[in-house]
């Protein structure tokens, strides 16, 4: 099995919201020194899904990322977790890529690398939450796709996906090659071993540029980006003891006609 996993480097989304700043002019978030760059959580879970397949079926996993030079760190982390190879697609010419252009570039990179049986992506990016790159790559490659996988199994040239839907789970079966997007229901990603972290640090990560892959024309443009204003200050409920606070909370909610 040849598996490709698309990953994205993002600002750590779990920072306190006061550490989150935006450049309204440039319409993007500002990376403050104390904020780390991390792998988008859904992508880490997509890699976990690939590794589970590799645990039971001989597989080669290639991680692909479109991003800045710094994204080599998350690619190395993926290799430390158990991926075999990594490719970075990076060039200032890709800087203005929206999710449409991102999918176009990733699809070209996947075509160039060739012959994948299965492509896995996170269900959505942890920064822009556009939720369309995976489906877009599948459409551009002309292969079938299933989104929001909670479990993935591969056998006899088929992929069987348990898809999370509003009121339950749906099991969908497709012939390979196929693309599957992974949701958090798949479970937590594994930790890399220290030995593998050391090995991954030495791994050569090839970089492809706009000379290898042509940039695509974006379809969406952001006209404004802002931090929503908080409507009201939080009213902290007083009380002599936690029990009394609980009781006072109930009275407050009755006053507000909420119960």
């Amino acid at each position: 099995m040849k598996i490709a996993v698309c990953v994205r480097e993002i600002l750590d989304p779990e920072i306190p919201s006061k550490a989150f700043k935006i450049d309204a002019e440039a319409k993007r978030a500002i990376k403050l020194p104390e904020v780390e760059l991390v792998i988008s959580d859904y992508d880490a879970r997509a890699l976990e899904a690939a590794l589970r397949i590799k645990d039971s079926l001989e597989s080669e996993i290639t991680v692909m990322s479109l991003g800045a030079e710094s994204a080599k760190d998350i690619i190395r982390r993926c290799i430390a977790m158990g991926a075999d190879e990594g490719i970075l697609v990076s060039d200032p010419a890709f800087d203005d890529s929206d999710s449409f252009a991102t999918a176009c570039v990733l699809a070209e990179a996947i075509k160039k690398q060739n012959n994948f049986d299965l492509i896995l992506c996170g269900i959505q990016e942890g920064d822009w939450d556009s939720g369309q790159v995976g489906s877009g790559v599948a459409e551009l490659l002309g292969i079938p796709s299933v989104t929001r996988a909670g479990n993935i199994e591969v056998n006899d040239g088929k992929v069987v996906v348990e898809r999370v839907v509003t009121d339950g789970r749906e099991t969908v079966e497709m012939l390979l090659p196929a693309l599957v997007t992974v949701s958090s229901e798949i479970g937590e990603p594994r930790y890399p071993s220290i030995r593998r972290v050391r090995e991954a640090a030495k791994k050569e990560i090839p970089t492809w540029t706009a000379a290898d892959i042509a940039p695509a024309i974006p379809r969406s443009e952001i006209v404004s980006l802002f931090i929503p204003s908080r409507e009201a200050e939080c009213e902290f409920i007083a009380g002599e003891s936690p029990e009394e606070m609980g009781s006072n909370l109930a009275l407050k909610l009755r006053e507000a006609k909420a119960i």
């Binding site: 600002l11 369309q132 489906s135 509003t166 789970r169």
Partner: protein, 332 residues
């Protein structure tokens, strides 16, 4: 692009009626169509869906295109994308809207790429600018920021809309409209993949998305047994229980309890967040709540930044006093 005309919404059914999201789509679709001076069309696709076509007209549609065929009994990406691609190429709408539902989230991206156009998902607001281009507002960075998108390079302009973000118009039985069957001209050979089984979540009470009261637990709940206390509180308030990601990952509660951008999006009248920090992707999924209450021992927890009422204390000590007072109030 000048020959493009009309607003099209993709409808969905729930228990043999129009789903609430569909009446909401008709509401915003009607407004945009009126502002543009265009027609509003609804598409109903599935098996046995024709019966609700007149209901779509009562909620504001001028025309209803019905794709009613056993081939569409199960939702499959290939069949639905192909059918709507054919319809869209024939109707050439200016705007195409879907719900941000299981169906919409899978269908809309792939359809947008096939049509070569730009899509914005999980929109909470749509409006037209002076050039009559749709401004599509959606939460980004896990709800820490809000972005407004436009699509200048492709048509139709596409969006998926968050549940309860839009108002339906009042149902009017006297409204007249056209119901048109549409043959998408696709066959079994065009469809890759199949649905082999379906399992419904075991629901013990009200659906999370429909509940007026949602009680959510986080990492600080600690274990499966403690989680049962939230179930009791939710039952008392006539609401439903949800969770952030850690309790789901740790199997203290079923995975379908997860509330947030990738779980369920909820907009209750009362949301009570207990022992949860308020991760941005969770808060983005509850931002439509009328009153947010937070109980957490850490006064710095993010949840207090969005809460209307807060209690800074150990939740296990707060709950007994809260529950007994609620019981007393509800009894009177």
């Amino acid at each position: 692009m000048t020959d493009r005309k009309g607003v099209v919404i993709v409808g969905e059914l729930s228990d043999d009626n129009l789903a609430p999201i569909t009446t909401e789509l008709l509401g915003i679709g009607r407004k945009l169509a009126d502002d543009l001076g265009h027609e509003l069309s609804a598409v109903l696709i599935g098996s046995g869906v024709g019966q609700v076509a007149s209901e779509a007209i009562h909620f504001g549609a001028d025309k209803v295109y019905v794709i009613d065929n056993p081939l569409f009994k199960d939702y499959l990406t290939d069949s639905y994308v192909a059918a709507l691609d054919n319809l869209s190429r024939q109707l050439k709408p200016e705007i195409l809207l879907l719900g941000h539902t299981s169906l919409g989230r899978d269908l809309a991206p792939r359809l947008a790429f096939r049509l070569g156009t730009g899509l914005t998902q999980d929109c909470i607001e749509l409006s037209l600018d002076e050039e009559r281009i749709v401004h599509k507002t959606k939460p980004v960075y896990g709800g820490n920021a809000v972005a407004v998108y436009v699509c200048r390079e492709g048509r139709p302009q596409m969006a998926t809309i968050r549940l309860k973000a839009m108002e339906p118009i009042a149902c009017d039985d006297s409204q007249q409209g056209e119901i048109l069957p549409f043959d998408p001209q696709i066959g079994q050979a065009d469809i890759r993949g199949k649905v082999v089984s379906r399992e419904e979540d075991k629901l013990t009470g009200i659906k999370l998305e429909e509940a007026d009261v949602v009680v959510c637990g986080g990492r600080g709940i600690g274990d499966h047994e403690s989680f049962q206390q939230l179930e009791e509180l939710a039952r008392l308030l006539g609401g439903a229980v949800g969770a952030t990601r850690p309790p789901c990952d740790n199997k203290w509660c079923p995975a379908h309890y997860q509330v947030g951008l990738t779980g369920k999006l909820v907009s209750p009248l009362l949301y009570i967040g207990i022992a949860l920090s308020g991760a941005s992707q969770h808060l983005a999924g509850v931002s439509g709540s009328k009153i947010i209450v937070a109980i957490n021992s850490d006064p710095e927890a993010n949840i207090f930044r969005v809460a209307r009422f807060g209690v800074v204390a150990n939740w296990k000590q707060v709950l007994p006093g809260f529950v007994s007072k609620v019981k007393e109030l509800l009894a009177n």
